[in-house]
């Protein structure tokens, strides 16, 4: 690559000195910020508009949804779409499409990130996401959107704060039965914000018993290529916490081996400096459940399981055999082992069976082998034949095997929590630690 290095000349600087006034006359043509998102739609999986929230004076006609829904799938699936009149951002969660419209230039990730938050908050509030839940609770959804975004700009997306402003649905009905027709049940705790520089924490929660749990939840992503080589193996992990602590607790979490961590991202509550200097997480936690940090541990050498697939084809039939076993024992039981793969389209019929576990083939040609745990006396083996469409001699398109597993009680990255300290220890404090690893994207190619 040709890189041109540019240096500034001395004479340029001299000119600056002699002509100070020059800079003032410059025209700045920075773009004018207009309302960002103009409208949010929630669409059901049949394309029906379940909810429409206009955010600004520029009404967006809902015909845009019809336009969007009629687009060909490959185009419609893109997260950012230009329609003839608007830019559309969308995310799909559990069959519900969250669609946001704008006519102005804006950071796309901001819109997408915001929609993700909306989806998270809704699913948190409604206890899941589906068409019925949204339709039954659309008032709550409107209320939430009202607080989450004003004039097209995101406002409060912190679930703990929202929870104080808008009671979750089950609470509403509970409260109503107690104080029917009474004044606002939440106004007393409206986050004052003033004086508090911890926007994620409610003003002064009180608990009779104080509990804090730390969970290490890891997912292993791995790719084993056609030659059986482990080309990528890494762990994505999250430190999830659940805290019910009275007052204004100040916590310190330290790891026994923080050096394994890479690419960390922190919850806004984490103080940056202590981490920089001592690899210690120092923070005032939000109330309730939250993700304290996420991290990645790269270049792991081994997966706990091996998968050895073999396919030989001969005059229109393929013999398949797949072996699964433990490669390196993690010290805890590997549970819920599954193997699934898409049979190539040119396979007309399949006859597959296993010596352990169950094999199911769905009509969409997805084959799932549920193994569970590896038995001590034999190596699980899937075997059988695939018949190819007439005219095909050999198989040219090979399936990718997706491996699933779960191991409780261990973080495969090797990360260990050393201790969790509280600056002031509240009465009746209970601390708990857990760890688990499951397969993330674990692909074995053939």
């Amino acid at each position: 690559m040709n890189r041109l290095f540019v240096c500034f000349h001395g004479n340029g600087r001299r000119k600056q000195a002699s002509n100070q006034g020059e800079g003032i006359t410059r025209q700045s043509c920075d773009s004018i910020r207009r309302e960002m998102l103009q409208c949010i739609f929630l669409l059901s999986d049949s394309g029906e508009v379940m909810l429409e929230k206009q955010l600004t004076g520029h009404r967006v006609d809902r015909s845009i949804c019809a336009w969007f829904w009629d687009q060909p799938d490959s185009f419609k699936s893109l997260p950012v779409i230009a329609s003839p009149t608007h830019y559309l951002f969308q995310i799909v969660r559990d069959g519900i499409t969250f669609l946001a419209c704008t006519q102005v230039e804006m950071p796309p990730l901001m819109a997408i990130e915001f929609l993700c938050r909306v989806a998270d908050v809704l699913s948190d509030y409604l206890g899941g996401l589906n068409e019925d839940l949204v339709k039954d609770n659309f008032i709550i959804v409107y209320e939430l959107l009202d607080e989450m975004i004003d004039n097209g700009f995101p406002l409060t997306t912190e679930p703990n704060i929202l929870r104080e402003m808008i009671a979750p649905p089950n609470l509403v009905s509970k409260m109503l039965s107690v104080v029917t027709g009474n004044a606002s049940n939440v106004s007393d705790t409206l986050p004052s914000g003033a004086g508090s520089c911890v926007p994620w924490r409610p003003t002064d929660p009180k608990y009779s018993s104080n509990e804090v749990y730390v969970d290490l939840v890891e997912e292993m992503d791995a790719i084993v290529n056609r030659d059986g080589e482990l080309v990528k193996c890494e762990v994505y992990g999250e430190v999830q916490m659940s805290s019910q602590l009275t007052g204004f607790p100040d916590l310190t979490l330290s790891f026994a081996n923080p050096s394994v961590l890479e690419d960390m991202r922190f919850h806004p509550c984490v103080r940056f400096r202590p981490w920089e200097s001592h690899q210690v997480l120092s923070f005032v936690p939000p109330d309730g459940q939250f993700k304290l940090m996420s991290y990645r541990v790269k270049k792991l050498k081994n997966t706990p399981l091996y998968v050895k697939p073999q396919i030989t084809s001969d005059s229109g039939t393929c013999r398949v055999s797949v072996l699964v076993g433990i490669r390196s024992d993690p010290g805890k039981t590997i549970e819920s082992i599954t193997l699934s793969f898409q049979l190539p389209h040119c396979v007309s019929s399949a006859d597959l069976s296993s010596n352990h576990g169950t094999v199911t083939i769905l009509s969409n040609k997805i084959c799932t082998w549920t193994i569970g745990r590896i038995p001590s006396d034999k190596t699980p083996c899937l075997s059988g034949t695939l018949a190819l469409e007439t005219g095909l001699e050999r198989l040219h398109v090979y399936p990718t095997f997706k491996v699933g597993f779960k191991i409780m009680g261990i973080a495969l990255s090797g990360l260990r929590i050393e201790k969790l300290d509280l600056k002031t220890i509240p009465p009746r404090l209970y601390k708990g630690f857990r760890a688990q690893t499951r397969a993330g994207e674990f692909d074995v190619r053939l």
Binding site: F5, G23, F75, S294, H396
Partner: protein, 840 residues
């Protein structure tokens, strides 16, 4: 009180029949309106819910407006919210009724519950009924002074809403000044952030006609204010942080200490859990260090891992947005990402839009050290169940082959694809092998032996068929049965539906004829006859043209149709570096996702991006057309480079227009023009000897060679200020902000190139023409200069980037000007000055 009707308590979710249901609701609401019985709020809630659910599914329930307003006299907050929602939806359509609403909203603005105060104020400002603005002033004024920050937050946004309804009312009430003082003194971060957002917008809009607003707007970018925000950035919520970071991007730091201070303040933002914050921070870092090459490089290293983490930890939609930005960075600095190639390996479950971007990334970062692994990985995708991804992977392998010097291993892989016997794999591979041969003819032997074994019957896709036919023609001497395969294909002329394939058949038959005349003569005859009778204009024209050239002189024909092969040194990049730079300046915006700078898709309000892409795809062939469309000019310039090195124009177009963007215009639309260009280009070689022929080449030439050969009409001469001055920071700022007004390429005369051994001499030379150099750099053969000039007696600047390649003796210049209208004149002055460089 018993509920009015049992049915109202349990609204059925099924489709309501419409009018009668609405009338029903109306009477039920009316009954409830005055009631104070216990439990009435419950019944109201059910009814309200029903009304709003109708509204949501699109049934017009505006007729119950009056009843809704009457019923809203309640202390139940959920009822209030529902009512506000309803009112907000219909107030615009019922200005008379909204007067009613105002009454109760104003009352609510004085409620003792801050939440109701806030919500009422928000609804009041959201009514957006122009003739009612005077009712907003009081509540807004007291809202801004409210002791509850929630209300203040809403009031600040309310001011902005008021401004959009009636700017003068807002200004006259001196709300901007109030906001400014709130912004500087309020203790609540959200209030401060909303003030900033509102003031930015109000002052930007006012700036065009108010000196004061202009000053205020500038003051937002002043050092104390920027530091005021940056120092307390952690107090703001994540979205407000984005706002502040965007403000910081526009700030022009005073010196390098300033830059480092800001970067230190913001460094931990790179690890924020919100991707939008991370990306906004990245933008600040990149923009701040643009002028500091080595620091800029370090910035890349620093931002790399947070970005890669974001890619792999978010939802697919987030990954997509981040990958689009990474793509931009990767293309700018591939070597920095070269060792991270595994991050871009595709996982089976990823959506194809993510996979496609990852493939582009892998292509971009392939270099000597990682090519083997990357190509191995890509080859596995070729057997992927997802056909589209399999195709993309093969194209990616091809692109890597074309950008590498050592293609040994890749050629083997490509040829292995042909053995997979999958029609789409074969098709993609053939196109690639053809491109590869055009660049690396030395591989012809290996490739041809494999390609020769492919039966043309198995290839259906026009592009692949055309590629195979091209190879048959080009390497007729190496493939023993080439004439017979061609003959076979020509005999099935009628069944060949693609004009592209038929055009290639004609050319291939000609080429084959020149190499193996006796075997091909018959087939060529059939082809020309069929071609002349063809209903497709291009095919007809080409056949006739070949026929006449042959008739005129066979040797001339050979020189026209089958000149000695020349390897293509570089294929045209789809995007000029200029466009890439523009997109880079618009980092963290939609431009990055569309891979187009915003001026190409946002300027005109109701113009969708589709129309723009049409312009892009259509290569203008007349100078008049091209002068209007800057991006198209760029493309055209690229195309000309190609034409110099190849005679197969349309293939190249196919390759270059295939950049994976969803918005590229369909290739077909530009077919005709490119065909014409091809003919025109075949022309110059022959024109010297064929001028007397019955065929008028001149017309074709005039048509094909556009801007470069047509002298630009000389605009009135421009007077430049010989003592102009501009400080480097102002230059940078301008360069970032101004659009390109003109891009040109000139030849530099040999004396100039000789004099360039001392680059300073050019700087002196240009200065004598009142064009001053502000920065320069580079090494032979590439030199880069930044010049500026100023109009005599007017503070209107022209900024120029000039890249001179001393080996090709070409200078590329890009002009940005305060005054677009005179930029062409300046470009002419610049060209004149440059052309005299090196002359005694």
């Amino acid at each position: 009180m018993p509920p009015p009707a049992a049915s109202a308590r349990y609204p059925s979710p099924s489709q309501p029949s419409g009018k009668s249901e609405v009338t029903d609701l109306k009477s039920q609401l009316r009954q409830l309106a005055g009631s104070r019985a216990p439990g009435v709020d419950d019944s109201k809630r059910d009814l309200f819910k029903k009304v709003i659910s109708y509204m949501t599914i699109g049934i017009d329930v505006s007729s119950v407006f009056g009843e809704m307003v009457m019923c809203s006299a309640t202390s139940d907050i959920v009822l209030k919210k529902m009512c506000y929602l309803y009112v907000g939806n219909y107030a615009k359509g019922n200005p008379d009724l909204s007067l009613l609403t105002i009454n109760f909203l104003q009352r609510d603005c004085k409620d003792e519950d801050p939440m109701i105060r806030g919500l009422a104020l928000r609804s009041l400002c959201s009514l957006r009924v122009p003739n009612l603005v005077e009712y907003l002033l009081g509540p807004l004024g007291s809202g801004l002074k409210d002791n509850n920050s929630y209300v203040r937050t809403i009031a600040v946004t309310g001011v902005l809403k008021l401004y959009h309804i009636s700017a003068s009312t807002c200004i006259d009430a001196e709300f901007p000044a109030t906001l400014k003082s709130l912004m500087l003194h309020d203790s609540d971060a959200q209030v401060v952030a909303n003030c900033l957002a509102a003031l930015q917008e109000i002052w930007s809009l006012e700036a065009s006609h108010s000196e004061e607003a202009c000053r205020e707007k500038e003051s937002l970018l002043s050092k104390p204010l920027i530091y005021y925000f940056l120092n307390r950035i952690k107090e703001f919520n994540e979205w407000a942080q984005c706002l502040i970071l965007e403000l910081a991007v526009k700030y022009v730091p005073s010196d390098s200490n300033d830059i480092f201070d800001i970067m230190n303040l913001l460094e931990d933002r790179l690890q924020h859990a919100n991707g939008a914050v991370v990306l906004a921070t990245v933008k600040v870092f990149l923009q701040l260090t643009l002028s500091m090459t080595d620091v800029h490089q370090q910035v890349y290293e620093r931002i790399k891992s947070p970005l890669l983490t974001l890619v792999s930890s978010g939802s697919p939609e987030q990954s997509y947005a981040i990958l689009s930005h990474l793509h931009l960075l990767v293309v700018r600095a591939p070597f920095i990402f070269a060792s991270d190639y595994k991050h871009f390996y595709c996982q089976y479950n990823e959506p194809s839009y993510v996979k496609k971007l990852k493939l582009e990334m892998l292509t971009a970062i392939a270099n000597e050290s990682n090519t083997y692994e990357i190509v191995t990985e890509l080859c596995e995708y070729a057997a992927n169940v997802d056909i589209e991804i399999a195709r993309e992977s093969i194209r990616a392998v091809g692109k890597i082959a074309l950008q590498q010097y050592d293609v040994n291993a890749i050629v083997d892989r490509l040829l292995q694809f042909l053995e997979m016997e999958k029609d789409y794999v074969t098709a993609e591979t053939l196109v690639l092998v053809k491109d590869l041969l055009r660049k690396h003819p030395q591989w012809s032997h290996d490739c041809i032996s494999v390609v020769g074994g492919i039966s043309s019957k198995n290839i259906q896709e026009p592009k692949a068929k055309a590629a195979l036919i091209w190879m048959l023609g080009e390497y007729a001497q190496d493939m023993s049965d080439a004439p017979y395969i061609l003959e076979n294909l020509i005999e099935n002329w009628e069944e060949e539906h693609s004009a592209e394939v038929r055009l290639h058949l004609l050319t291939a038959a000609m080429k084959c004829f020149f190499k193996r005349a006796p075997e091909t003569q018959k087939a060529l005859g059939i082809a020309l006859a069929a071609g002349i009778a063809d209903f497709h204009q291009d095919v007809h024209d080409r056949a006739l043209f070949y026929y006449r050239v042959l008739q005129y002189d066979v040797h001339v024909a050979e020189r026209v149709v089958s000149p000695p092969q020349q390897a293509v040194s570089a294929f045209a990049d789809t995007q000029s570096s200029e466009i890439k730079d523009r997109i880079f300046d618009e980092f963290n915006s939609l431009s990055v996702i569309y891979q187009k700078p915003s001026y190409m898709f946002t300027d005109k309000e109701h113009r969708g991006p589709f129309e723009f892409s049409d312009e892009l795809g259509n290569i203008p062939i007349t100078p008049e057309a091209s002068s209007e469309i800057v991006p198209a000019q760029q493309y055209e310039a690229n195309d000309k480079d190609l034409l110099l090195s190849t005679d197969e124009k349309d293939d190249n177009k196919g390759l270059s227009s295939n950049n994976g963007s969803a918005y590229t215009a369909p290739y077909e639309s530009s077919n005709i023009s490119s065909q014409m260009q091809e003919l025109a280009i075949s022309g110059p070689a022959a024109s010297a000897t064929t001028t007397q022929s019955s065929f008028d080449f001149d017309d074709l030439l005039g048509l094909g060679l556009s801007t470069a050969s047509v002298p630009t009409p000389s605009p009135p001469l421009l007077k430049l200020n010989p003592r102009a001055s501009l400080d480097p920071r102002a230059f940078q700022q301008k360069w970032r902000q101004l659009p390109i007004s003109s891009t040109q390429e000139y030849s530099v005369n040999p004396q100039g190139i000789a004099a360039l051994t001392v680059p300073q001499s050019l700087i002196k030379h240009m200065q004598s023409h009142s064009i001053h150099c502000i920065a320069s750099g580079g090494q032979s053969p590439n030199f880069k200069f930044f010049f500026f000039a100023q109009k005599e007696a007017e503070p209107s600047d022209y900024l120029t980037e000039c890249i001179i390649n001393s080996s090709s003796a070409k200078a590329q210049i890009k002009v940005k000007a305060d005054e677009q209208s005179t930029s062409q004149a300046f470009a002419t002055v610049f060209e004149t000055a440059l052309s005299k460089f090196g002359m005694p």
